[in-house]
């Protein structure tokens, strides 16, 4: 009997103390955490970086990153919208290569981008040297840009028109752009940014850029005219989570989505510095998966465009122009740039 009472007494004493201690523990740790977060925020606010216009005389310009108000040199071109300190920057990576329609494609792409605030265009040429055509075009648009180049080795290049899915086009160029981003932006003190891969022949609505600005990790949306369908889209359940892919061509790919159908938060790119597009041995249609599987899981994807029910980007392709009348020696003056 005394033993029981003893035990009862001990329990009655110890129990409330443990409760008190746990409560104390929590309340003691929380303010500690807040203090730590406070210093972190101070760090973020202290060094603010924003993309600025890069002089094309240097390869990649890591310094010189002041916010530059773009000055109109020709009255014809409109200025891009004023740079905002609050909006996340959209870094658009576009691989391009020389062909007759290149200037036309880049011109109309630039006309679209001139409407988007806080846009940074990273144009990567598939060439040994940066061509004067692209250099001049970028300068004249007045956009905020970075001009890079890397040549795809001959044995990787597509021959003529044949779409050989074993050699994905633009891979080396996109990887170079990713590397440039990682070298330019610091993981700890980065301004908010979104990375989007935009091919030079697609069509983008202006709404798309505003949808992708709120990406926290990786966001996805439908793309028209891919996979032999009117559009391909992610499957979204009632809880707003992506659980599959509405495609006909290999819907069991880890990420059955086109390059134009997703955007990645810059922070994620910087936190996973090993994530690149796989160059060799990639099956047709698995290019996007080769990068995305190193960054996110299906569960982390954020569906945009009204839960993936609206089409905001079209995978248009431009016909190869018939130049039969040029003949063997070329009829037109080669000095005129087209």
């Amino acid at each position: 009997m005394p033993k029981r009472r003893d035990i009862l007494a001990i329990v009655l004493i110890v129990l409330p103390w443990t409760l008190l201690i746990t409560v104390w523990h929590q309340s003691a740790i929380a303010p500690l955490l807040a203090i730590r977060k406070g210093t972190q925020y101070d760090g973020v606010e202290g060094k603010r970086e924003a993309g600025g216009q890069v002089q094309d005389s240097k390869e990649y310009c890591a310094s010189d990153k002041d916010i530059v108000e773009v000055v109109r040199t020709e009255y014809v071109y409109t200025r891009p919208p004023p740079w905002s300190d609050v909006l996340p920057t959209i870094h658009i990576i576009t691989p391009t290569y020389s062909r007759p329609v290149q200037k036309a494609e880049l011109t109309r792409l630039a006309n679209t981008f001139l409407h988007v605030p806080n846009l940074h265009w990273i144009l990567v040429e598939d060439s040994q040297r940066r061509t004067p055509l692209v250099t001049r075009l970028l300068r004249e648009t007045g956009l905020n840009y970075t001009h890079l180049n890397v040549e795809t080795p001959r044995n990787y290049k597509l021959r003529g028109d044949t779409r050989d899915p074993r050699i994905p086009r633009g891979t080396m160029q996109r990887n170079l752009a990713l590397r440039w981003l990682r070298e330019t932006f610091n993981a700890n003190s980065s301004q908010a940014g979104i990375v989007y891969f935009a091919d030079d022949d697609n069509t983008y609505s202006l709404e798309l850029f505003e949808e992708m600005r709120s990406t926290r990790k990786v966001s996805v949306w439908p793309v028209a005219f891919v996979g032999g369908l009117r559009y391909e889209s992610p499957k979204v359940n009632a809880a707003g989570k992506v659980y599959g892919w509405k495609t006909v061509f290999d819907p069991h790919r880890p990420f059955a989505i086109d390059m134009a159908g997703f955007a990645i938060n810059l922070r994620l790119i910087l936190f996973k510095p090993q994530a690149y597009f796989k160059l060799r041995g990639v099956k047709g249609g698995y290019q996007e998966s080769s990068l995305l599987r190193e960054l996110v899981t299906l569960n982390d994807l954020e569906p945009k465009a009204a839960n993936c029910t609206k089409i905001l980007v079209w995978h248009t392709r431009t016909e190869k122009p018939v130049l039969v009348n040029e003949g063997k020696k070329g009829f037109t003056d080669p000095n005129v740039e087209i």
Binding site: P2, R5, A9, I13, P16, W17, L20, V23, W24, S27, A30, P31, A34, I35, K37, G38, Y41, E74, V76, Y77, T78, S84, D85, V86, P100, V101, K103, A104, E105, T107, R108, N111, T112, L114, H115, T203, Y204, L206, P222, F225, L229, R230, Y231, F249, T309, K310, I311, W314, H315, T316, R317, T318, E319, P321, L323, N325, E326, G330, V336, I338
Partner: protein, 336 residues
């Protein structure tokens, strides 16, 4: 033993009660202090104040630019001639994409009036909504092509002339509308025929704005060549550099010329002739309006390419068609 236990217990209980009370009071004080935890809220407040500052700045900017624009706007309204762009369009898969990227280019051009003429018996909701959302000044018309004049599935694109009825309808509306405006036939303006799949640089619109009669310039990627252009000597067009039938009166593409509004109004009968032989469509319109030496060369004496005759591939729909045969096609309510 029992009494000692009891005594011990009593004191222990009393002690425990006192200590717990103290502890509770302390915990309550801690809870109270937590509300005071500004370290957690400060960054948020800072962001809010930053956002407010940014908003204020942007509002100032808008106010400033509007203030400078207002006097300019009055000036521009009277001094900048309006460019009337007539675009025939027809329903196909890439129609929405083409019109959207066209509108994105046009949005940069001041004083532009877009006249969209659909090849359709009635206005389609797709184009209607697109035009409303575009933010442009526009006129939405429609004119169906007669069945025998229409290209059928599998016909090459050059077999029958396209857009004839639509361009003529655009001209008819323009004449009717402008006649009702003050200024009558002496109005400033330029008429340009822009197909929905071409690519236009912003410069071309500034080049054509000063057209007095008919101005011309090179067009890229047309006529089976890198570009076609008028050949200029002494500031006048002497002949045309083209790879196909250069003996035509005006061997150039629809995108290579613009006509002044005055000329269009002064010649109410001038329109496109659908019966004209292949490649003579532009000539059928221009013949009654100008002679070759009256043409005004633009784009640095026709040496720069500022517009390209791009064409968009028809998207492959094999899988879509297969699915539709099974009754599993994509949701037709989703507009593409």
């Amino acid at each position: 033993m029992a009494t000692r236990m009891k005594l011990k217990l009593k004191t222990v209980f009393v002690l425990y009660f006192m200590v717990s009370l103290l502890g509770l009071v302390y915990a309550l004080m801690q809870l109270g202090q937590r509300c005071d935890c500004t370290e957690h809220d400060m960054p948020k407040d800072r962001t809010i104040s930053r956002l407010r500052g940014e908003l204020h700045r942007l509002q100032e900017q808008i106010r400033k630019s509007e203030a400078t624009k207002q006097p300019q706007k009055q000036a521009t309204k009277s001094s900048l001639p309006t460019i009337f762009v007539i675009t025939p369009t027809y329903a196909r898969l890439v129609q929405k994409a083409e019109l959207i990227r066209l509108s994105q280019t046009f949005l940069h051009v001041p004083q532009l009036h877009w006249i969209v003429v659909e090849d359709s018996p009635h206005k389609t909701p797709l184009v209607t909504d697109l035009l409303v959302k575009s933010g442009l000044t526009y006129t939405h018309l429609h004119m169906p092509t007669a069945k025998d004049r229409k290209l059928q599935e599998g016909d090459p694109s050059w077999l029958k002339p396209r857009g004839v009825e639509q361009r003529n309808e655009g001209l008819r509306w323009l004449r009717e509308d402008r006649r009702a405006q003050p200024g009558g036939d002496n109005q400033q303006g330029v008429v340009y025929f822009a197909d929905d799949d071409n690519t236009y640089s912003l410069q071309i619109f500034e080049e054509m704005r000063g057209t007095q009669r008919v101005s011309v310039w090179p067009v890229g990627l047309v006529g089976g060549m890198k570009y076609e252009r008028p050949v200029v000597e002494g500031g006048k067009v002497v002949r045309f550099h083209t790879g196909w039938r250069p003996s035509r009166p005006f061997p150039m593409d629809m995108a290579g010329f613009a006509v002044s509004l005055k000329l269009v109004l002064a010649n109410p009968e001038a329109c496109f002739d659908g019966e004209a032989p292949m490649g003579f469509l532009e000539s059928s319109f221009l013949q009654g309006l100008v002679t070759m030496d009256e043409l005004e060369p633009k784009a640095a004496n026709c040496s720069k390419v500022l517009v390209w005759h791009t064409r968009t591939e028809k998207p492959k729909m094999k899988r879509e068609e297969a699915l539709q045969a099974q009754g599993l096609g994509s949701d037709p309510a989703v507009e593409v």
